[in-house]
Amino acid sequence: MTTPPIAVRVQAEPFDVAAETEKMTAGRTDIGAVVAFTGLCRAEAGRLSALELEHYPGMAEAEIERTAREACDRWPLMGVTAIHRFGVIRPGEPIVVVITTSSHRVAAFEAAEFLMDFLKTRAPFWKKEVGLDGAKGDWVDAREADDAAAAKWAR
């Protein structure tokens, strides 16, 4: 089995989900399902003016790529695109997108969930809160719920 196309990017710039989806589906007539997950920065009830995302350059890309490859081993996918931003991100702006394509919907859905669960717990990114006055606040704590979500894919 050949690995389907995997596109991984770690960047400061915003991304265009429609354009990324188009790249994966253009000219193909074998894809039946596309799942796109976009994670957005929340204001946390108006408490935050931004999140500042630190990452580990090199490892971030490598770890997302490893996760994408594992998703391709587990599900019959036709493509995976995963883009994660770093730097200052304002409420309402996108942080991460994962797009999966497959001939059927179950594979596309499960793989996208898997990618997000693993990305949250394994990709080396850290969020710091920036308050309304622009002052750097606390680092966001890792959530146990995220570890539990990732653990459910163990096999």
């Binding site: 090199g58 490598a62 994660h84 949250k120 717990t121 990709a123 850290w126 680092w139």
Partner: protein
Amino acid sequence: MKIRYFAWVRERIGKAEETLLPPAEVATIADLLGWLKTLGPEYEWALEKAEFIRVALDHVHADHAAAIAGADEIALFPPMTGG
């Protein structure tokens, strides 16, 4: 070997990276964390709950029991909060 720190581990230690040569008896990641804590109060503060510190050897996650021999770059950081 190059040691890199991220997020609040970096902030507490007060530097993003440094090159260190641990003594020969430092064989595993757990040994390394224990030895780093002897380097000063900033290390002790950053690594006070060593069991929660995540470590990557040359860009790959590793258990605290893993041997560090052969690694060019060791990174220490808190649990990830991306996504």
